[in-house]
Amino acid sequence: MAKLNLNRVEMPRQDPKKRGKNFNEVALGYSLEQAKEEASRCIQCKKRNCVTGCPVGVDIPDFIQAIRDGDMPEAVRILKSKNALPGICGRVCPQETQCEATCTLAKKEAPIAIGRLERFVADWERANMPQASSSPPAKPKPSGRKVAVVGSGPAGLTAAADLARLGHGVTIFEALHVAGGVLMYGIPEFRLPKEIVQAEVKFVASLGVEIKLDSVVGKLATLDEILAQGYDAVFLGTGAGLPMFLNIDGENLNGIYSANEFLTRVNLMKAYKFPEYDTPVKVGKKVGVIGGGNVAMDSARCALRLGADDVYIIYRRSDEEMPARREEVENAREEGIQFKLLTNPKRFLGNDKNWVTGAECYEMELGEPDDSGRRRPVVKKGSEFVIDVDEVIVALGTRPNPLISSTTVGLETTKYGTVVADEETGKTVKDKVWAGGDIVTGSATVISAMGAGKRAVASIDEYLRG
């Protein structure tokens, strides 16, 4: 057996000093040579542990072998047969806890950089096969059945693509003016260029999926009205779009944003190009971001790029418990984001113009583990201190928007507002209705939503053909 190569090929990135001032993508992607070199490290295990680690079951060793052989069109074909959104997944999936965690070489702490290779294949296709990247391989035989997909985020796009590939008629109903959901309004340009999202949306449309924008289901039509329009089934993939706040004093001061609002203004409405684009966004000199997840990192790094002098991540637990991807925490640190850990706001202070001037915070310490298994943060009595800020972004997480559940008879929801659905099939208690992604789990990851979309399609297909 050949000697194991444990040298992961690094992916070039923009210099931290430069990238903190622009919205261009941070990671620059492999060259063909780098991709081939990394692909050549794959030992093509008989037992494909990496595939079991992938929520959508991509045939990982096969597309890696194709890269190694230099057969890029074949790599594209293999990848896209299971994953309609490879350019997106290659960028934002937490591979380190999925396929790369189960990679045999992970035991030697040098898993194959599957995410970087996936990204490379998607980018290669867009650059070299522009026609193919937006046209489907072959039209399947129409089933004569129609499915409505509500929401065009990762769950909805995946479900729509897979349903269309099975020959079902698919219409996506999207509330915003552009398809992509959180991929468009949430994740910033420097982590996921919008052009790539739109290219993959175009691919899904090329499979025969109709996309209706500006269509707020629950307002424009209820689920039952949609079913009455001739759809045989509905897949709900509306995500978790409702921002959570701290519910403390001063939270409605000017200059305090939910991360959803801040990121929507910056990413979806392109406020970083104001006044060329009409939507403005305020950026302070000292910005406090509350939370320790990926959305908090995205918000902090956007604020930095928009010109803030000091950006603080204010998080109530310690570094170890931060839910953000390690890579994003490191990126943020490199760019100069300051971490105020074991710190939790008590209230916000404002001036006579109702503008925020400070976050009064408690110092925290870690106690016994809580339900999440992480050590519970406990307030240190009398530890209050003020962090001077002129802008605050609250990134505490999101819950599902009740617009649909509150207008639908027969849908069961939890106390967190999530829709109750079977974990394996996505089937809800309502006839003909499936759900998957953040609307079921609460805020999670792009790929887990895609996996849920895929599993629901298997169940919907069985139902439609039953």
């Binding site: 509330a175 915003l176 003016h177 309004y185 924008l213 500006d214 269509s215 707020v216 307002k219 424009l220 039509a221 779009g241 409702l242 921002p243 706040f245 519910n247 939270e251 409605n252 000017n254 200059g255 944003y257 939910s258 959803n260 609002e261 929507t264 203004r265 409405m269 392109k270 104001f274 006044p275 060329e276 684009y277 009409d278 939507t279 403005p280 305020k282 113009k353 109702n354 928007n401 009740p402 617009l403």
Partner: protein, 277 residues
């Protein structure tokens, strides 16, 4: 794209567009709004639905030129189209037979009160409408409101038409006249809605106001439009826009409406310069 079928200039700075939007028209109810975006670079702004026709598939919006977006909108002509017209959003105004309802309309609010007054009238209420404007040349829809009211009182700040003064004066008189008033609906500028609510507070007559904070998506996603009502934070886009005027934190609303005042000026100036060129 959504086509402008009819354009009317109600007064020099207030315009009416009748839009082709059959799906929205089919579901629209009094008190709801739409979010409008002109084109790729445009911002999303909420505009209240002034009228709709399910059969014709049209929805009417009325807007005042106050900044870059509304000024750009005002340049559009019949046959032009806008990129996005999303709705109907918000909770419809609560309509039932209350008895006698006073509807107060200030400025552009005239167009927003009209569908509410009509729905209340159709539900069997006696409608007394007070229509106020700064002066005669800013007054519109007197005829429309007259058609849906049992009694119409017109005021102008400068006395150039109708009664001289502001809308709260006749409102107070009606409340003090001894006639049983069961509800007040006030729609217009923040300061007008605030003073109407203050005027009705002593009598305790339930007073409904339609709030217009800054919004982005209009579907509960961003929280930009949060208002404080009875000490609780609400999102005007999904919990409102109608709220109990006696419980609204008016100072907070006014302050939050000023968040982007510098940017709005900058955008308006930019637009004026480019438009002049």
């Amino acid at each position: 794209m959504y086509k402008i079928l009819v354009r009317e200039d109600l007064v020099p700075s207030v315009h009416l567009f009748k839009m082709a939007a059959p799906a929205v028209a089919a579901k629209a109810q009094a008190g709801q709004f739409v979010v409008v975006r002109i084109d790729e670079r445009g911002e999303r702004i909420p505009l209240t639905i002034a009228d709709w026709d399910k059969n014709a598939g049209t929805v009417t919006i009325v807007f005042m030129e106050v900044g870059a977006t509304t000024a750009r909108l005002a340049l559009l002509r019949e046959g032009d189209a806008i990129a996005d017209f999303v709705g109907p959003l918000g909770v419809p105004t609560h309509i039932e037979n209350f008895g006698t309802v006073v509807c107060v309309a200030g400025g552009v609010g005239a167009a927003l009160v009209a569908p509410v007054a009509r729905a209340l009238k159709n539900a069997g209420n006696k409608i007394i409408t007070i229509l106020g404007a700064r002066s005669k040349d800013l007054l519109f829809w007197e005829d429309v409101l007259s058609g849906v009211s049992d009694q119409l009182i017109v005021t102008t700040d400068d006395g150039s038409y109708g009664r001289k003064g502001v809308v709260t004066e006749p409102l107070k008189e009606i409340l003090e006249s001894g006639e049983k008033i069961d509800r007040v609906v006030a729609i217009g500028p923040v300061v007008m809605m605030k003073f109407c609510s203050l005027a009705t507070a002593p009598s305790g007559v339930r007073t409904i106001v339609s709030l217009n904070p800054i919004m982005v998506d209009g579907t509960g996603m961003c929280g930009c439009c949060r208002v404080s009502v009875g000490g609780e934070t609400k999102f005007a886009c999904v919990d409102g826009p109608d709220f109990d005027g006696h419980k609204v934190d008016w100072e907070l609303l006014a302050a939050r409406q000023r968040i982007y005042i510098d940017e709005e000026k900058c955008a308006y100036e930019e637009w004026r310069k480019s438009h002049a060129a």
